[in-house]
Symmetry: C2
């Protein structure tokens, strides 16, 4: 589940219909942020387990311990909630990133990716959310579609740039097209994670990614 080192995918129209444009923070404004956080957390889990379409406001409300209508006070539509979950997921994975531009050497790139893949093994919920929503988003009119299109484009160009930099240092095996290799790396990662979710003990995502990267890069 390729990282988080691309540009932030547009805050956009998250605050749609009923949100206040005044800065006014009267009343119990303090608890609001915390509430939103716990709602997003519950929604994350539900969407991961059931998908966006099959996941319901009711189940999310049950988990967070409030009524379904109370939930609608914070997120007036279901896709608002979905986008909040996706952006929250970005924050999580960006926070978990160790060092973005620290090591552009081959060993650094490989180790960074392998480390992240290993770390992901302890977050099956996050991976599941990503895999399920990503595929669901290719259906007609899905609210997360543009999110994933933008995300893929960003990740691909980031990896391609990194590969080009390594290429300039002669660290990449000759004959490699950096754009195709970047798309392949992302695709490989995502595809392996799906197999891993279905049969965790039969697929080693991190090892397969290392294999691929070692094929790609010069032994140095």
């Amino acid at each position: 589940m390729p990282t988080g080192r691309e540009q932030a995918p547009r805050q956009s129209t998250e605050r749609t219909t009923s949100e206040r444009r005044r800065v006014a923070r009267r009343g119990a404004g303090a608890k609001s942020a915390e509430r939103r956080r716990s709602i997003v957390e519950a929604a994350h889990a539900v969407f991961a387990e059931r998908g966006y379409h099959a996941g319901s406001f009711q189940e999310i409300a049950d988990r967070v311990g409030m009524s379904q209508t109370g939930l609608l006070h914070y997120f007036p539509t279901k896709s608002d909630l979905l986008l909040a979950v996706l952006h929250r997921r970005d924050e999580i994975t960006v926070d978990a990133a160790p060092a973005p531009e620290a090591a552009p050497e081959p060993a650094g790139l490989i180790q960074g990716i392998v480390d992240r893949a290993r770390a992901n093994e302890s977050l099956p919920g996050v991976i599941e959310l990503y895999a399920v929503l990503c595929a669901e988003s290719i259906t007609e009119g899905h609210p997360a579609r543009s999110y994933f299109v933008g995300r893929f484009a960003g990740i691909r160009t980031a990896y391609a740039a990194e590969l080009r930099a390594l290429q300039a240092e002669g660290r990449v095996r000759p004959g490699i097209d950096p754009d195709r290799a970047a798309a392949s790396l992302v695709g490989l990662w995502d595809g392996l994670q799906v197999q891993w979710l279905l049969e965790p003990e039969r697929v080693d995502v991190a090892a397969c990614l290392r294999d691929y990267l070692e094929l790609l890069l010069e032994p140095s």
Copy 2:
């Protein structure tokens, strides 16, 4: 969307509740098979466009030109219909397979996979069905889950066997683990197809697969 050269994934409980166990073929038995075929075809399209959960009997019935209840005569439950669609898809791709054991040489394996990937570019509906249902199947209690688990296992072992055969002839680059490489090939293919479905003109699945296979195999 890895091929179809694995074992048939279990006919199992497709004919559940209301199907006849007698061979009796009275009345208008002739049209039955044709009807079933057209229903499965319409269901294939609908599930591909909307996913399993979001796809409805009503929409399928509309496309096939009959009532929703008439449709239930042939497929008493929704998962019956889903499994019929998946098995039908297997038949299609198996029929489209050129020659299973014809060419175990490196060039043959590469060419076969690249050809199939190219052919898939003209069948976005089939790819979409596969991608959407595959990810949806990792959600809790999805009726297609065991289908995909079995399918992945079969494809992986088939490719692993093929790679081992090539390895015995010294055609594989040294240091390759055939099991991991098989999982990687399948994952790469699936992951690239998702990106391709989102942005067809930005991702070349067949070219990326050829790149990977050429990295994997000895130049010969």
